[in-house]
């Protein structure tokens, strides 16, 4: 590896380090602000999904800055950059394929397994009420309200 660390990376110096630190800090604060903003949104709203997407994009930007500047990849020779970046491109396919698979499994189960679907829509009662009704303690996933 030694030869890849020649005098190539003069780029920047301490000034660049502080600039990247500032960028990373600002991005993290924006992410947190979005996270706080998202808390009040209804669960299925498309705005919530959009905010999640925005957070993921900010995450990718942060990752780029860490790899490119802190890990110095941007100042390395092109062959090393390609050795790292090309295999990582596999992740694009991995993520799309696996998340699509997960989603389709959910849809299949909800369509063909009514019991599963019913179970997952039952609300669990608050813990305080649980303790008072001991005869239901063993089937705590089941609702007690239906039986009254």
């Amino acid at each position: 590896m030694e030869h890849t660390h020649t005098e190539k990376h003069e780029g920047g110096g301490t000034k660049e380090i502080w600039k990247v630190t500032l960028i990373l800090t600002v991005l993290t604060i924006v992410e947190l602000a979005l996270g706080f903003w998202m808390m009040g949104m209804p669960l299925d709203s498309s705005l919530r999904l959009a905010v999640k997407g925005a957070i993921v994009i900010l995450m990718m930007v942060k990752a780029f800055y860490i790899v490119a500047y802190f890990m110095h990849l941007k100042h390395e020779i092109k062959n090393l950059i390609m050795t790292i970046v090309v295999p990582l491109a596999l992740f694009v396919w991995f993520i799309i394929a696996f998340l699509y698979d997960g989603n389709s499994f959910k849809n299949l189960r909800n369509t063909y397994d009514p019991h599963y679907k019913e179970q997952s829509t039952i609300k669990v009662e608050k813990k305080e009420e649980h303790k008072s009704e001991e005869h239901h303690s063993e089937e705590h996933a089941k609702p007690t309200e239906e039986k009254h």
Partner: protein, 199 residues
């Protein structure tokens, strides 16, 4: 070679996180991270402070990453004093992060969360499976183990600097390699933080 090791590590973490994403996409409900991670050390019981503690942890790791870059930079200039100073700061940052994580694990364990047990309900109030805690403890545990080994590596680098090993060699390339590993740990936390705490 460090880059190739980090590639293999990246695929391991990637596989973990994609598996987490697949299970999450296949579930009808999932616990709300703001409900689970809402406490802070020494805060009164029942205090609601979502995201605050994990932001502190994130900033600690980012700052320790910055001091690591500064250590590498000092190494380039053959500035032994600078390397020692920044390596110590990096080690302290890593140890602080580990302390935070230990506290959080301990706290969640006291609330009844562990591998195979999940006391938290889904966001919509329905019963949740143990997938959430299993993935949380496995992935943050694996990351925490990386932080731990990173701290050990940094301590070894500090000792080697103090005993003038690098001065004799005439270069501080080992610091650079330890730095790569440390930045990778920070990089993984960016993903873990987003996937578990934010979305």
């Amino acid at each position: 070679m460090m880059w190739y090791f980090l590639m293999s590590d990246a695929f391991t973490f990637g596989a973990f996180l994609i598996s987490y994403g697949t299970i999450r996409f296949s579930s009808n409900g999932w616990p709300d991270p703001n409900e689970v991670f809402k406490s802070f050390p020494f805060a009164p019981e029942g205090m609601n402070a979502p995201l605050v503690f994990v932001s502190v942890m994130t900033f600690i790791l980012i700052i320790s990453s910055v001091t690591m870059v500064l250590a590498v930079h000092a190494g380039h200039n053959m500035d032994k004093k600078g390397v020692v100073k920044y390596m110590i700061m990096t080690i302290i940052g890593g140890a602080m992060f580990l302390g935070c994580q230990a506290w959080e694990w301990n706290h969640l364990h006291h609330e009844g969360a562990w591998w195979g047990s999940n006391p938290f309900l889904n966001h919509d109030g329905t019963a949740s499976s143990t997938n959430f805690t299993n993935y949380f403890f496995t992935i943050t545990g694996f990351h925490g183990f990386h932080v731990f080994s990173g701290v050990i590596i940094n301590i070894i680098m500090l000792i080697m600097t103090l005993t003038d090993k690098f001065e004799q060699r005439g270069h501080y390339l080992m610091i650079e390699k330890a730095g790569l590993y440390w930045h990778f740990v920070d990089l993984v936390w960016v993903f873990v933080f987003t996937c578990f705490y934010l979305i």
